[in-house]
């Protein structure tokens, strides 16, 4: 009986709080969004009709649901930060934002969240903004279904697409980011989810994070970014089914792991990169069921890495499978599929009977003397590779797959 009463009371109060008004902004109603926010009460909904709004800097200082009908345009006139969110539980839905201010001192953004909880940014289009969506000390924020396009030219004078700093439990879902400095940038962001985003043609990195622990990255696509993807100084990173494509250049990597530990990668695809995965100072990483296809170097693993467990990965049509810079090997490469494997399987247990050495002598030579790349696939280098396979001298002897798979992992 007592419980029923409590539920009834709860219902009563919850209905009471949901007693929100609707305020309309448009030609026949209130003229500006700033006025609408001024007269709005907490948890009101503000509908903004189609039109062009030059609000200077629109500050949202109370929890409201700001909803754009037919994508009304907010113009920052290249002088202002367009929307500043300074209240909890704000939703910004369905706007088109363009021309934020650009500065090398202040980080102006299309939408910036200042130290708030439960802010939702959905279905917006941001064009020509300095930073796109900027989250600073945000908790439980959702950034979803946004399109961010910029045409920035220089790294020094450009901002990031989705930029999060010192935040927790952020969800970044189904956004498209292009033309910024970094597509998605994290610094001190924890327990967050990055899912189904498409980050392409950014000046520097598609995804860039540091000191961001326990985040999960699922089915994102990173394509044609200036230097690929770079992640550093974090632990508890989980990556599933992401696609890293066409990151070309000397310093460009499908993904660069620097000082990453206790992490996990599964089902990712690395395609047409100069280097698929580059690991430096990484430790305790489980990497399985990933596919490396048509890369220059599928995997560059420096001798400073330890306890990297690579298994059940596919290495297909890469110019070089693995390159390293030393003879110390503290990692495990067993049970992968290598299309260059020339061994046999007499007992039909689906594992090759002789070990596979994925580091070719020639890749070691190129590591030392990059100009030698010109001799690649010539008679003499294949001859040297064959000799090295029989009598390893230069390549690290312990870097081998003792049980190479005969068929690719699906």
């Amino acid at each position: 009986m007592n419980m029923h009463l409590t539920i009834l009371l709860l219902l009563f109060f919850s209905v009471n709080t949901a007693n929100a008004n609707i305020i309309r902004v448009g030609k026949k109603n209130i003229a500006t969004i700033t006025e609408a926010i001024a007269i709005a009460k907490r948890y009101d909904t503000i509908f903004v009709e189609k039109g062009i709004y030059k609000e200077h800097n629109l500050v949202i200082d109370k929890p409201v649901y700001l909803m754009g009908l037919d994508k009304p345009l907010l113009d920052g006139e290249s002088k202002y930060e367009i929307i500043s969110v300074k209240a909890d539980s704000v939703t910004v839905d369905g706007f088109r934002l363009q021309h934020s201010a650009i500065s090398s001192i202040v980080d102006y953004a299309g939408i910036k969240i200042y130290n708030k909880h439960k802010v939702t940014i959905i279905n917006n289009i941001l064009e020509d903004t300095f930073f796109g969506v900027y989250v600073q000390y945000g908790i439980d924020c959702v950034i979803k279904n946004n399109t961010l396009v910029a045409h920035q030219k220089e790294e020094q004078q450009s901002g990031n697409g989705i930029h999060c700093w010192k935040s927790d439990s952020i969800q970044i879902i189904n956004n498209t980011v292009s033309g910024h400095r970094d597509g998605i940038y994290f610094e001190f962001v924890t327990h967050s989810l990055i899912w189904r985003n498409f980050s392409h043609e950014n000046l520097r990195y598609g995804l860039h994070f540091m000191f961001s622990n326990d985040d999960t990255y699922i089915t994102n696509t990173f394509e044609g970014n200036g230097s690929g993807v770079s992640v550093m100084f974090s632990h508890g990173v989980k990556m599933f089914n992401n696609l890293f494509r066409k990151n070309w250049g000397d310093g460009a990597y499908g993904i660069l792991f620097k000082e990453i530990s206790d992490s996990y990668g599964q089902g990712n695809i690395f395609e047409n990169n100069t280097t698929g995965v580059y690991m430096e100072g990484a430790s305790r990483i489980d990497f399985q069921k990933n596919t490396f296809k048509h890369n220059g170097w599928a995997l560059k693993i420096q001798a400073s890495c330890m306890d990297i467990n690579l298994h059940h990965n596919n290495f297909i049509a890469n110019t070089f499978d693995v390159a390293t810079n030393g003879s110390l090997v503290l990692n495990n490469f067993n049970e992968n599929y290598w299309d260059k494997y020339e061994g046999y399987d007499l007992n039909k247990d689906k594992f090759g009977d002789v070990p596979y050495h994925p580091v070719s002598m020639y890749s070691m030579i190129i590591e030392k003397n990059p100009t030698a790349v010109l001799l690649f696939r010539s008679f003499i280098t294949s001859l040297m590779d064959k000799t090295e396979k029989i009598m390893p001298g230069l390549t690290p002897e312990n870097l081998k797959d003792n049980r190479p798979l005969m068929k690719p992992v699906l």
Partner: protein, 255 residues
Amino acid sequence: MKKIIKYVIADILRNKIVLAYTLCLFVFSFSIFNLEDNTSKGLLGLLNIILIIVPLISIIFSAIYVYNSAEFIELLVSQPLLRKQIWISLFSGLTVSLVVAFLLGVAIPVCIYEPTAVGLTILIVGVLLTIIFIAIAMLATLLTRDKAKGIGIVILLWLCFSLLFDGLVLFLEFQFADYPMEKIMIGISMLNPIDLGRILVLLKMDVSALMGYTGAVFKNFFGTSWGFASSILVMLIWIFVPVVISIVRFNKKDM
């Protein structure tokens, strides 16, 4: 001149070696594509054939053919014909038969399994290498009358182009590792038609690996249409120069 070319081609076809060569190329290329599950590995096998087997067959076959038709050449020289014409006809006859053999053997499988830019580049490179090594062989045969010696020279030349030259280049690279060698390497690679052909194919096949810094230098040169055109041009020079020198020598030759 046409008559001589016709006669040369008929003669070559009659001795059936070229037919066997065509058949071998055909069977090799088909089986390479069928054996491998991804076609890029097939192309790699094909590349090896084109860079090693094709020059070898072209150079040895042409040399032997020229030596064997010494009497026929003497007969022609005694006729009222220009020596230049005789030599060019001989060269053209050899070229047409070997190029057709190569195309029949390799182009059909490539068109079926890999009708891409890489496949096309491989075909172009193969045809050019065939012609270049015929030209080199014909020049080499003029150096000595002795057939055994001549064939020895020809094999040595092939070895130089396909193996020793690259060894030397690798040696140079390590000796001068501290210096910026990229531009010089482009120049040096022009000195060997096999290297040039290989690089052209490489640029289509291993683009990802070649986009590293040094690679990018090469890519910026060879990968542009300018670079491609100039590499083809250099390969044409590799045909033209031996042919011209051999014509001059043949004109002066004491039969």
